[in-house]
Symmetry: C2
Subunit: 235 residues, 2 copies
DNA sequence: CATAAATGAGAGCGCCGCTCTTGCGGTCAT
DNA sequence: ATGACCGCAAGAGCGGCGCTCTCATTTATG
């Protein structure tokens, strides 16, 4: 139904269709930001666009499909935010911290979107296929920082338990082909990624309410610790 | 409305009320396990108990309140599972790993309950007051392991960035009064706790789908790494 | 025993996701 | 240019939801 990115519009009808698709998505996005995914209603979107609720189904065959489109959009936005936070000219440690701080800022400014990405999967399940690409965008950004640091000879893994063989998909070592990553390096990046996202989730979901006194400082602290764990030089 | 643990039943009416309250909770719990929190419906619970849906409101004034009761129940169950996984006579490392493995088993067997605890907060917000006690039960179990290890002189923190002052609530150092924990120790425990729960969340929510090949092994690996980080002796 | 409180059932309100039918208007081949 | 066709929007409607209100019945209490 929802054909993802729309190709070059031909007829006037297709042009109108594409435009309306975008408008629906935009209205849904506004609703998501306001009331969250669980309260997002197709009928309210239709009301905002002054059209019959049944007409929405010409563009998105179900509420879940609309949510999936919003998930993809959000993953991409988060990826863009991460990329913007990374200054490729800076030191590896600064790049790492800058990226994560940008991710946190995006999450704080878009908490419902963040919850949609990293919270409980709301529907039966979102479309797995269409989401894996955008989902990896932020991780790829982090992987580049480490790869660059390694190429510059600045990567040194501190002592820690070794990753048991077979725990992670070894194909991930070829995610950035020229990097020639080791299993250990990849395992640490996955852990670091999981760790910092986990801190953000806890902060946003209120699990740190009586735990952290300065959640921003604690986030920085965690990102720094995770960065040191993957071998980046951080003072 | 829902008066939490019910006091000693006096009249027959109160006895019946307490029993029905428990039955509603049990039916709701069954539904939660089957269809998850977002699809849990008061009306379906009433149907299963063969009573009018409006009658439920004599016991729980809203769906959110029912969910909150389920949250408390689940926190306690998780706490019990953690305590059962901890053999106080074993070595600190074994205690740590045993506790976490028990937590994971509980989460895998009760994924909807786990999602309710550590996923997106579904309603406007669950009751904060009544949940903080049960929520800390598992964390307390972990803190005891570390305290015991410290008392036995087996705790040694590996090098890592220091926790910046003011990041965490310093009162947490007095959570176990006789432990005399340092800020650094507490900060590491919080991070470790967050880290392992984060791995579980990612696993259960499908974020590790094309990432880990053996999620059990990866979980163990993470728990081990986190245990080493808090200073426990782990081989 | 009478009064007050607690309880349960039913009807009903306004939402929701989703489907089906109907009619209109643009598209396109003949 | 005309007629068949298809995309589209609208409306009605289905069953389900959370929640409220009323009313009868049952139970506890003075």
């Amino acid at each position: 139904m929802y054909t993802g990115r729309m190709s070059a519009p031909r007829t006037a009808r297709q042009r109108a269709r594409d435009e309306l698709t975008r408008e629906i998505l935009a209205a849904a996005r506004r609703q998501l930001a306001e009331v969250g995914a669980s309260a997002l209603s197709l009928r309210a979107v239709a009301r905002e666009l002054e059209m019959a609720s049944s007409a929405i189904y010409r563009y998105f065959s179900s509420r879940d499909e609309l949510l999936t489109a919003l998930i993809i959009e959000s993953y991409n936005e988060l990826g863009v935010a991460a990329e913007r936070g990374d200054d490729p000219g800076a030191e590896p440690g600064e790049r790492w911290m800058g990226t994560w701080r940008a991710v946190r800022r995006w999450a704080l400014d878009n908490r419902h979107e963040f919850a949609l990405l990293y919270g409980t999967p709301v529907p039966g399940y979102a479309a797995p296929e269409d989401t894996i690409g955008p989902a990896g965008r932020m991780a790829l950004c982090l992987a580049r920082i480490i790869t660059d640091a390694k190429a510059a000879g600045l990567l040194s893994l501190p002592d820690a338990p070794a990753c048991p063989p077979g725990a992670i998909e070894e194909e991930l070592t070829r995610l950035i082909p020229e990097a020639e990553s080791t299993v250990e390096e990849v395992a640490r990046l996955i852990q670091a990624w999981n760790r910092v996202i986990g801190v953000l989730s806890f902060e946003l979901h209120g699990h740190f309410n009586n735990v952290t006194a300065d959640s921003g400082a604690f986030f920085d602290y965690t990102a720094r610790t995770a960065g040191a764990y993957v071998g980046l030089p951080l003072d």
